[in-house]
């Protein structure tokens, strides 16, 4: 009899954690310890040689952190996960494991500003170049691939552009050239979209956002599909003896979780952006209710989008969950259905009548909607990206990232929808000045 395939609502609560072997504790214990004792010198040797699995030092692995890693891997339908101190750290670990000096990345143009900086500035300084292309065009990804390209990077839903990526089409382009597709899946969360189902090879999350949901804790997770053929000749770091970890051949030894093991032993271990056990525990408190919260985020965001569209003080509304959104068919194909409508997450953007000054007045008139640089909180959050999250980019880069000067981004929270609509309405009235 085949093993049962559990639904995400069940995995969000159970995957990665069974009752503690020693105490029977049902909830996840916090193993707040830097180090773990060896049973013997031989046991220590086996652990260091990776011949047995176990914990050595919490910069490499920790039982509380492992519960988060496995849970997100299970929710994504992936083979293995690796947690880190933030979403940016998860991206950096994936890319630094994959890439070497002289390599090239093809990336979507409409990316989170921090990711653009990592690719265009930080990795560029290490001799790794990136070509940014129109995320709506799989052909543009194909045209930008060079002989030294080693990764294709995009977001399932762009933040803040809300551009929806045709994951299957871009995965096909990447795989035709023997390249892995990396997807930042932060905005939909693993409940609404599983990029691996559509061909992605590595998924990264800022767990700080919907996975945690409470806005208290920073964390990141990388998940690998276990399906990428790392022995295709382009990735000697996966197949040759590791210089970074005494000669281990990661793909041969660990097979379908070889990339995560290499990321853990070569990159996380050396660069040190490990997640604290207490932070992992806090994120997991949120993950248990992820499916419930995402359903409400989607329902509230749809109601807000429809309200804004009919409001005289609003010039335009961008929400992929609206039936007349240009990418709605793609949204319906890639996202989980919530109440019979494609769940398009809780982010939307709109332009306030009166441009930039009216946008600023709108934000300052809000009663409980919080003006801050985060998304995916229980609270409704508002921000003007052009003057905050994306201000380090020039005008052309801002437009390429989908940021218009009059654009307000809403991360619709879990307050009562009537109260959210009331706060938006009164702030829009105040925006007239």
């Amino acid at each position: 009899m085949a093993d049962r395939t559990f639904k995400p609502e069940t995995l969000a609560i159970h995957a990665g954690q069974i009752p503690d072997a020693e105490t029977g504790a049902r909830a996840l214990p916090i193993y707040q310890t830097t180090s773990f004792v060896f049973d013997s010198a031989d046991h220590a040797a086996s652990l260091f040689n990776l011949q047995t699995f176990g914990n050595v030092y919490s910069r490499l692995s920790n039982p509380t952190v492992a519960a988060l890693e496995e849970r997100v891997a299970a929710l994504e339908g992936g083979r293995a996960g690796l947690a880190s101190a933030s979403g940016m750290a998860a991206e950096a670990i994936a890319l630094l494991t994959l890439l070497s000096q002289g390599d090239h990345v093809v990336a979507a143009g409409a990316l989170y500003g921090g990711t653009v900086s990592m690719l265009a500035v930080n990795l560029e300084r290490l001799g790794i170049s990136t070509t940014f292309v129109d995320a709506a065009s799989p052909e543009a990804f194909a045209a930008a691939i060079r002989p030294n390209t080693r990764a294709v990077f995009a977001e399932s839903i762009g933040n803040p552009s809300l551009a929806v990526l045709d994951i299957a089409a871009v995965a096909e382009v990447a795989h035709a050239q023997g390249l892995p597709l990396l997807i930042d899946n932060t905005v939909p969360s693993p409940f609404l979209c599983n990029p691996i189902r559509f061909g992605a090879d590595i998924v990264v999350h800022s767990a700080t956002k919907y996975l945690g949901g409470h806005g208290t804790t920073l964390a990141g997770v990388m998940v690998e599909s276990g399906r990428f053929p790392w022995d295709n000749g382009k990735f000697p770091g996966m197949t040759e003896p590791s210089r970074g970890y005494h000669g281990v051949k990661f793909f041969e030894t660990f097979g379908d979780f070889g990339f995560s093991m290499r990321a853990r032993m070569e990159t996380l271990r050396v660069y040190g952006a490990a997640l604290s056990p207490t932070s992992a525990w806090q994120i997991l408190q949120g993950v248990e209710t992820l499916p419930l919260r995402m359903e409400r985020h989607c329902a509230n965001a749809l109601a807000v989008a429809e309200f804004l569209r009919g409001h005289k003080r609003v010039r335009w509304v961008n929400y992929p969950g609206l039936a007349d959104h240009p990418q709605h068919a793609l949204v319906a194909r890639q996202m989980r259905s919530v109440g019979g409508r494609p769940g398009a997450s809780g982010l939307l953007a709109f332009g306030v009548e009166g441009g930039l000054p009216a946008g600023v007045r709108f934000i300052e008139a809000a009663r409980f909607m919080s003006h801050l640089a985060n998304i995916g909180d229980t609270r409704t959050l508002i921000i003007h990206p052009a003057s905050t999250t994306h201000r380090q980019l020039d005008d052309a880069q801002q437009l390429a990232a989908g940021v218009q000067p009059d654009m307000v981004r809403l991360s619709v929270g879990l307050e009562h929808i009537d109260d959210i609509l009331w706060d938006i309405d009164q702030a829009l009235e105040a925006s007239a000045g």
């Binding site: 085949a2 093993d3 995957a15 503690d20 072997a21 049902r26 853990r264």
Partner: protein
């Protein structure tokens, strides 16, 4: 073919001796990783490889035919096309399980062993399955598929 968690648990729990066909003495080879891990977890390893006299402190046999202890699992680290005679030998020595490692998928050998009453596992690593089902692999962030309200072990 055994592919579900309860059956794999039963096979690994009831076994004491594992003959590893194609075991390498090189420390960085996957077969050595697997053998050392299983030995450390209480299994008696019986190496089968004509190239070595001894591996991991155990006498190495040139073939399964000369093995003189009862074998529970015959674990095969050989190419798919070489498995059929190993399956016949596994049946002849009364082994209880024919286990083909990751990437080894000889369907004919599996059918033969299954008809002779052996448990049959294919395209899985004995070490990874042990670590997945009895703890350890979880610490490497791997999606073990284990959902349970019973404590570990």
């Amino acid at each position: 073919m055994a592919d579900d968690i309860p059956t794999l648990r039963r096979i690994l729990r009831s076994a004491r001796t594992i003959a590893i066909v194609g075991l390498s003495a090189e420390w960085h080879r996957p077969s050595f990783f697997a053998a050392k891990y299983m030995q450390e977890h209480g299994y008696r390893i019986v190496p089968v490889n004509p190239r070595y006299p001894e591996i991991l402190g155990e006498r190495c046999h040139a073939s399964l035919e000369t093995v003189d202890v009862p074998i529970d699992i015959v674990d095969v680290f050989r190419r798919t096309e070489d498995v059929l005679p190993i399956a016949r030998q596994a049946i002849a020595i009364g082994a209880k399980c024919l286990w083909q490692q990751i990437g080894v998928k000889n369907l004919e050998a599996a059918r033969l062993a299954s008809e002779a009453g052996l448990d049959v596992v294919m395209d899985r690593c004995v070490k990874i399955e042990h670590a997945r089902l009895f703890g350890g692999l979880h610490w490497a962030g791997v999606n073990t598929g284990v959902v349970s309200a019973r404590r570990g072990h």
